[in-house]
């Protein structure tokens, strides 16, 4: 992989001069870029709620990076797990939705049609429903309004 701006110096040749200590457990990083992450954001938020809240509360205690390494690893692993499940079950609808988002300045309100098929696929195969936290309960949520808004 070529690091941008360093075409003459391939990514494989970069060496970390200060690697993290070897007694820390190894964790993979989330590989999704902005649009797929935004597409899966509500699902990650509802599935990984406890881990995310744990991490935020831990950071609230102490901003030192070393303090919250374990909670951070759990957050990363949960997000990777959610993305893997989506890829295994609903890959085409997911791809259609995030490609639409990428085209439309990453605004949810302009991509309701692919989102509908995506949400239906998620519900049918995994039982996950997109739910906007703290939305008013006396009216349908904005992505479920008819006509599509």
């Amino acid at each position: 992989m070529v690091n941008p701006g360093y075409k003459h110096f391939k990514g494989e040749d970069w060496v970390d001069p200060t690697p993290p200590p070897s007694d820390l457990p190894h964790v993979e990083e989330v590989g999704a870029t902005g649009a797929p992450l935004k597409s899966a954001s509500f699902v990650i938020g509802s599935m990984c709620k406890e881990y995310n809240e744990d991490f935020m509360l831990c950071k609230d205690e102490d901003r030192n990076p070393q303090h919250c390494l374990r909670e951070g690893r759990k957050v990363t692993r949960c997000a990777i797990d959610v993305l893997e499940k989506i890829q295994a079950n609903c890959r085409d609808e997911f791809r259609a939705h995030w490609q639409c988002l990428d085209d439309k300045n990453q605004m949810f309100g302009r991509c309701r049609v692919p989102e509908k098929t995506y949400n239906e696929c998620l519900f049918k195969s995994l039982g996950w429903k997109k739910d906007i936290p703290f939305a008013p309960t006396n009216k349908p949520q904005i992505h479920e309004r008819t006509p599509l808004a």
């Binding site: 690091n3 990083e29 590989g31 902005g34 893997e84």
Partner: protein
């Protein structure tokens, strides 16, 4: 009374200028953004997310939906460091 066709010539020239400007701007922006429309109303979150995307895929507008990042992603982040009088001379 016949139509004054000579007066349409400057109108045609002006319309052609608008068309050329529009096509030129569209072409330049599309080429700058790898065939996609440009992003607008970006806040700090979007800017930082785009730096992360560039780190993951190598190009500013590249997208990738792999769950796990390539192993180089852990070590290929880079920041430019400048001397600045505001922060004290390095």
């Amino acid at each position: 009374m016949p139509v004054p066709f000579e007066s349409f010539i400057p109108f045609g020239i002006m319309s052609a200028m608008f068309v050329v400007t529009g096509v030129g701007i569209n072409f330049a922006q599309t080429r700058r953004n790898e065939g996609k429309k440009p992003r607008y109303s970006m806040d700090d979150w979007d800017r930082k997310m785009m730096t992360r995307d560039k780190q993951l895929t190598g190009t500013p507008r590249g997208q990738n939906d792999a769950p796990v990042a390539p192993p180089e992603f852990k070590i290929n982040s880079s920041w430019k460091v400048y001397r600045s009088l505001r922060n004290g001379v390095l």
